[in-house]
């Protein structure tokens, strides 16, 4: 499609200028203001920073042997040598939680990013084009959504040996679906807004419309959704670890550590169970609280406009 004629371009600019004078956007400090007034949200950010530091910086300070299996050291209670005791294979639990945290956080973030991106693209295209294309694209999403996802993931994990990139791919393969649905709904709504119709009337092409007008307006919903996807991915990854489909040793994740603790639950080896449990709950809880806080920020900004 050809570029809009100069006159039309000018009109667009005037329209945009008028729009900004009529509805002055709050500058970015207000977002931080709204956010920092929410003590829970600030607390959850702090906790998440601590968890990240624990997983990625912790091993630099606290050295432990995570490579070799030492049967003489298995299931030792906490002591000065092993602050949180040892695992069923004789590895230092605290060090193991750090290593396991790395893969857990990596999977969470990567799935959040990947599924959000893919869901955004899929949902926008379906919602924007509409008609038969939309129907086909959404039926595919419906079909995949009706497959109980854990069965699907276990099936895929049974076919191939799980590695971190693969698990990211597998969880993303089920995680993008609801995002796509959400984005499509938003796109359908935004498509009918006056300014989009106006921009269309001024001769904006599809790409410009999607990039300038539709995507930015889905952003708020998308960020909240992406945050919750991170939490979901951590939970699914943990469940996979419990089902014995986590990453192969010596790599580990919190779910796998927890699963080992569960096996020893009747032996009273509490150090193999509760630290991992607390870490998972704390991380997922913080991400969820953060998501809710971000939603509040966007909703308040919308209400103020």
């Amino acid at each position: 499609m050809a570029t809009p004629a100069p006159l039309e371009n000018e009109q667009v600019q005037t329209f945009q200028k008028l729009n900004t004078t009529l509805h002055p956007r709050k500058n970015s400090t207000s977002v931080i203001d709204v956010f920092s007034s929410n003590k829970l949200a600030v607390g959850s950010v702090l906790i998440l920073m601590l968890v990240f530091a624990f997983a990625f910086l912790g091993p630099l300070i606290y050295h432990s042997d995570q490579a070799s299996t030492n049967l003489a050291l298995e299931n030792l209670p906490p002591s000065s040598r092993h602050i949180l005791g040892t695992s069923p294979t004789g590895k230092d639990e605290l060090g193991r939680l750090m290593v396991g945290g790395q893969s857990t956080l990596e999977v969470g973030l990567a799935v959040g990013l990947l599924s959000t991106t893919f869901g955004l693209v899929w949902g926008t295209i379906a919602g924007y084009i509409g008609g038969a294309v939309d129907a086909l694209m959404m039926r595919i999403v419906d079909a995949m959504l009706s497959i109980p996802f854990l069965f699907f993931v276990v099936l895929l994990a049974a076919i191939v040996t799980p590695t971190v990139p693969l698990i990211i791919f597998v969880i993303s393969a089920v995680s993008w679906l609801s995002t796509a649905r959400l984005v499509r709904g938003e796109t359908l709504k935004i498509k009918t807004y006056d300014y989009v119709i106006a921009a269309k009337g001024f001769g904006s092409n599809n790409r410009h419309l999607i990039k300038r007008h539709i995507s930015p307006n889905v952003l708020g919903t998308l960020i909240v959704n992406g945050t919750l996807k991170v939490a979901d991915a951590i939970l699914i990854f943990a469940s996979l670890g419990y089902l014995g489909l986590g990453v192969a040793p010596p790599a580990t994740n919190w779910g796998t550590i927890l699963a080992a603790g569960v096996n020893n639950i009747f032996n009273g080896y509490w150090w193999q169970l509760w630290p991992a449990a607390v870490l998972i709950i704390l991380t997922v809880l913080s991400v969820n609280v953060l998501g809710d806080a971000v939603r509040d920020v966007f909703e308040r900004r919308l209400a103020r406009r």
């Binding site: 039926r139 595919i140 419906d142 079909a143 995949m144 959504l145 009706s146 497959i147 109980p148 996802f149 854990l150 069965f151 699907f152 276990v154 099936l155 895929l156 994990a157 049974a158 076919i159 191939v160 939490a231 939970l235 943990a238 469940s239 419990y242 089902l243 014995g244 489909l245 779910g255 927890l258 699963a259 569960v262 639950i265 009747f266 169970l273 449990a277 998972i280 709950i281 997922v284 809880l285 969820n288 609280v289």
Partner: protein, 313 residues
């Protein structure tokens, strides 16, 4: 209502067809195909070729799909090589137990979540609302298996009320209800958090609507407004939510069944994943998904019954 029913039924059928295509594609994504999975990685090329020919795997894919689909529809889901029996008879034995588990849990979850959500929504931002919300959020942030483990620790290890395993279920003729308590409780709690959060915000939204003001202005008591007006309107969206969360709950049953050794579709599936019995895996995925689509359809029809506006859309 007729047109709405027909439209939704056709949609469900199309969805089921799409599910079958997805499963069929996965079947052919298997490294080396089903034959390799069946004969092992050390099979000679000749043996592989013979079996491929015998199973019709050398024909064009669309024809294979058609044969597989007609077989599936007529109830032939293949043969479980590791368990040495037809997949359909395995499914007939294990899947109904999962339906029971999921069904009871969903019912319990809804009947707990609706009053809790109504209570919280009507007492928004009071202390009791905050306490309940925090409790629900902690439950919500737990992996299902951890929830099950916590329940085992509390209700079996500390207070020996319920057994920690349901493995006797299905083998004994007399069923001890207490065996099922923990699996059902785990799955119920996992859903209550989700439903009550939703119900709460739905109630809050509805309380701001004009019809509530009208009802109050006409002198209706707070209780009457809640029960007669807000509850009904909030129920609508919760019913759809039940349909939408069905796949998640069925997923949860996979976890719950493996924690408590409950002999349902989830445990069958998990054991088959360990032994790589792919015919069972695909059969279970197909049946479970079809059941989920059906459950969704039922929820939508129910939604149409509850809310007349939906039918005309």
């Amino acid at each position: 209502m007729g047109g709405y029913l027909l439209r939704r039924t056709i949609q469900a059928l199309v969805t089921m067809l799409a599910v079958s295509v997805v499963v069929f594609i996965v079947l052919h994504l298997l490294p080396g195909g089903l034959v390799r999975a069946q004969l092992g990685s050390k099979a000679t090329p000749l043996a592989v070729h013979v079996l491929e020919k015998q199973e019709g795997l050398l024909r064009p894919l669309p024809i294979q799909y058609w044969i597989w689909l007609t077989n599936t529809v007529s109830g032939n889901l293949g043969f479980a090589y590791k368990l040495n029996q037809p997949v359909s008879s395995l499914i007939g034995e294990y899947v109904p137990r999962t339906f029971m588990l999921v069904g009871i849990s969903m019912l319990l979850a809804v009947s707990i979540a609706i009053p809790v959500g109504l209570w919280q929504g009507s007492r928004r931002n009071r202390v009791d609302d905050h306490v309940l919300s925090s409790f629900m959020l902690v439950l919500y942030s737990m992996p299902t298996f951890l929830l099950g483990v916590v329940l085992i620790v509390v209700l079996n290890l500390w207070l020996p009320v319920f057994p920690s395993t349901a493995s006797d279920y299905g083998t004994n003729l007399t069923v001890d209800i207490r065996d099922l308590a923990l699996p059902i409780l785990t799955l119920t709690l996992a859903n209550v958090t989700y439903f009550s959060r939703y119900m709460r915000s739905s109630v809050i939204d509805n309380l701001l609507e004009d019809y509530v003001k009208t009802a109050k202005a006409k002198g209706a008591s707070k209780g009457r407004v809640l029960i007669k007006h807000v509850l009904r309107n909030s129920l609508n969206s919760t019913v759809t939510l039940v349909g939408l969360t069905l796949p998640y709950t069925v997923s949860g049953s996979l976890i719950v069944e493996s924690i408590f050794d409950f002999p349902g579709a989830g445990l069958l599936f998990w054991n088959s994943a360990q032994t790589r019995d792919f015919q069972v895996l695909l059969g279970v995925v197909l049946v479970i998904s079809a059941a989920t689509v059906l459950g969704n359809l039922l929820a939508d029809i129910l939604y149409g019954v509850v809310d007349p506006r939906v039918r005309s859309k």
